[in-house]
């Protein structure tokens, strides 16, 4: 046998296969400008689909103090892309679910019936659900606590006091470890709370007060949703949905409109702007109205954040269009059309000019905005960090809370106590929109500087950007008991970036898992 050797020519021959084997599997990832696998001919051109808003749900019954609603979480086949059938999960078979309009001072009872399949058809998990009305100071047993799970076939009546000021809220699934998939499948909707102050303001109302529920999804070849949480980093779609419609176009009159912006994405943050650079006003944040509107040209919206903005189309010529675009945030996975969100086309002069202004003063400052650091009884530090493939808060996860039989808490203030929390994200690789249940808080500083103009209102989610440290200030109450704190990148939350705090005493009357457990069987009439 001759001496083993390999000529340069041999090496070149082998390298043809070698480069193919190493490069081709990655080309889809590295060159990808789309996440969807569906034929591009089935995706609509951006701005070719008409705009729509979710229907408003009527109560099944009302009495002197309470409005009663019934919602069924169920699987159905819907149409997000024109002519394409997509299996979805929705409240009452709608994605997004129906909007609920409530009035401060009147209680809401929302019956949630879990009629989802016994297991997820492809992911295989049991789709237990736990409904969270995000932005409402609910009692712990009605707050969508992780561990207060309704299994398929169970129902639960959630009681909401509507004891807070007017604001844009949203209800969405919070089932422990499956929130991301359940919300991605469609279990999310707006809940709008009004009060006398909101009704008296000369801002746009009625048909000029429009929800914008923004999300992003990808589609598989067969039209079903494509799920990939990128090893728990988060799911990024290439199709932007507004109220369940891909990149729609909205006809607007030549006047001001109020938009209730909700980022319902799993992991995508948005930097929203108008394509012509026109400024607009932020009038409300998560916890309701700002004292004074803030004029901005860009709006950064992390997951679960809500901002009410007023856009003036008075000068937009009839037949002309401008777009609401997404200039992107750091570390988001962007595709060809994720920079596009929504188009506005002027249809004609205003047919109604009432509520067509933005007053210089909207209301008295929200109580959270009057707090000062000197009022804080305690200062707590919170470090948000990835540890292998688990997301942690101060090195701990929700599993640690479960292992403690739900006793472990991050903080334990009394009702009425004020605390200052310093939240640090030392990573350069991802941001965390941190949500504190129950309370509205003030964003005190961001990296030692004052909060952004858009944040000068009460918040319940704060965008903790890459390498940022943010200080927030809040008073605890009005309810007592245990409430969650978590990242609202839902893949982070599911894997397992969540802890809890306890306000005052924890007793049987406010046990989030046992005080009002879900039930099997046919529910009684509401």
């Amino acid at each position: 046998m001759p001496s083993p050797s390999l000529s340069r020519r041999d090496l070149l021959k082998v390298s043809v296969l070698g480069t193919a084997a190493l490069a081709l599997p990655w080309q889809g990832v590295l060159s990808g400008k789309s996440a969807s696998r569906i034929a591009s001919s089935k995706l609509p051109r951006p701005y070719s689909v008409p705009f729509a808003v979710p229907p408003v749900l009527a109560p099944v019954r009302s009495d002197a103090t309470t409005d009663y609603y019934q919602l069924t979480q169920k699987a159905f086949v819907g149409e997000l892309l024109p002519g394409v059938r997509t299996p979805l999960w929705g409240y009452n078979g709608l994605v997004p679910g129906p909007t609920i309009r409530a009035r401060a001072g009147r209680q809401t009872v929302m019956r949630q019936i879990n009629a989802l399949p016994a297991t997820h058809p492809t992911l295989g998990y049991v789709p237990w659900t736990s409904t969270h009305l995000h932005g409402m100071p609910s009692k712990p047993q009605y707050d969508g606590y992780a561990g207060d799970n309704s299994m398929p076939g169970q129902w639960k009546d959630y009681v909401y006091p509507n004891s807070c000021s007017a604001r844009t809220l949203w209800y969405h699934d919070h089932g422990v470890h499956h929130t991301a998939e359940n919300v991605y499948m469609g279990l999310a909707a707006q809940y709008q709370l009004t009060d006398a102050i909101e009704e008296s303001l000369p801002i746009p109302h009625g048909r000029y007060d429009v929800p914008l529920i923004i999300g992003d999804v990808a589609f598989a070849a067969d039209g079903s949703l494509l799920w990939d949480d990128n090893t728990h980093s988060g799911s990024y779609g290439d199709v932007i949905l507004v109220n369940g419609r891909p990149w729609p176009t909205m006809a607007v009159e030549q006047r001001r409109y109020r938009f209730r912006v909700l980022n319902a994405s799993i992991a995508r943050g948005y930097r929203l702007a108008l394509s012509n650079g026109q400024p607009f006003h932020v009038i409300a944040t998560d916890g309701g109205f700002m004292a004074q509107p803030q004029q901005v040209t860009e709006l950064i919206v992390g997951m679960a954040e809500r901002y009410e903005i007023v856009v003036d189309f008075t000068a937009l010529p009839v037949g002309q269009s401008i777009q609401l675009v997404n200039r992107g945030v750091k570390n988001a996975v962007d595709y060809d059309h994720t920079g596009k969100v929504l188009q506005f086309r002027a249809s004609g002069p205003a047919t109604d000019t009432s509520g067509n202004s933005v007053p210089a003063v909207l209301t008295t400052p929200h109580e959270a905005m009057t707090l000062t650091p000197a009022m804080a009884r305690a200062t707590k530090k919170m470090r948000l960090k990835r540890d292998a493939d688990i997301w942690t808060i101060n090195g701990e996860t929700w599993s640690d809370v479960e292992r403690s039989d739900y006793e472990r808490v991050f903080s334990h203030p009394d009702v009425g106590d004020v605390e200052l929390w310093e939240i640090e994200n030392s990573s350069g690789g991802w941001f965390h929109p941190l949500h504190v249940h129950l309370v509205d808080f003030q964003v005190l500083t961001r990296n030692g500087r004052p909060a952004r103009a858009q944040e000068r209102g009460p918040k319940d989610v704060v965008y903790i950007g890459e390498g940022e440290t943010v200080r927030i200030l809040m008073r605890f109450g009005p309810e007592h008991g245990r409430y969650m704190i978590h990242c609202h990148n839902l893949s982070h939350e599911d894997h397992d970036m969540m802890t809890q705090f306890q306000v005052g005493v924890h007793d049987a009357d406010c046990d989030p898992r046992l005080a009002a457990p879900p039930a099997y069987g046919t529910p009684p009439a509401l």
Binding site: P2, S5, G18, A21, P25, T122, G223, S224, L225
Partner: protein, 197 residues
């Protein structure tokens, strides 16, 4: 002047001339194959819970590669290579590489990747999916994105391919590398024509 007149005199014995080169390529092939075996064991452990069939395939591959690496280290030395055995190993390694390419550019092997999750009790674990999953009415295979572990495994397998090819006799080696060239060209053509995604 003849060529032999300028070539430096090689005073080594035939064994001395052969053994260092043989040893070098033997070690290249063995190291590549053994490292691939180790990486396949790691891959098996990460896929065990969700894709047991795939994990079993990785383990089987690892066992064969481990045996091959041992044979390359402990087997016949000098000129005693079994050409058929080396050719078989070379073919097997190339097939594993091609399977990787197919797995990450087509859905042909999609059933092995079918994702799953579980949630038997009220605070059970999160659903895990290995790559993209279509959330349809039934599980459908999807092209799986590659990961660094898989790419590293293929890289060391390609090193093993080079080492194994070098161990073949000159004429067989030339034929083998020509076949590898054809295989490589076919893969590129399949990609260019859209057969591979």
């Amino acid at each position: 002047m003849t060529a032999s007149a300028v070539r430096p005199a090689d005073h080594r014995t035939p064994e001395a001339r052969h053994v260092p080169v043989t040893t070098r390529w033997r070690w290249v092939a063995a190291a590549g194959t053994a490292t691939a075996a180790a990486l396949h064991v790691v891959a098996a452990s990460t896929h065990l819970q969700l894709q047991p069939t795939l994990a079993a395939g990785f383990l089987l591959t690892a066992l064969v590669q481990l045996g091959a690496a041992a044979w390359l280290v402990l087997g016949p030395r000098g000129s005693g290579w079994d050409t058929r055995a080396v050719g078989l190993l070379l073919t097997g390694t190339v097939l594993v590489v091609l399977a990787f390419v197919a797995a990450h550019t087509t859905t042909w092997l999609g059933d092995l990747h079918t994702a799953g999750g579980h949630g038997a009790h009220a605070t059970g674990h999160a659903a895990e999916a290995d790559g993209a999953v279509a959330l349809g009415l039934a599980a459908l295979p999807e092209v799986q994105a590659p990961d660094l572990l898989g790419t590293a495994t293929v890289a060391v397998e390609l090193i093993a391919v080079v080492g194994l090819a070098a161990l073949l006799p000159a004429r067989t080696r030339s034929r083998a590398t020509s076949l590898l060239l054809v295989a490589g060209l076919l893969v590129w053509v399949a990609w260019l024509t859209g057969l591979l995604g």
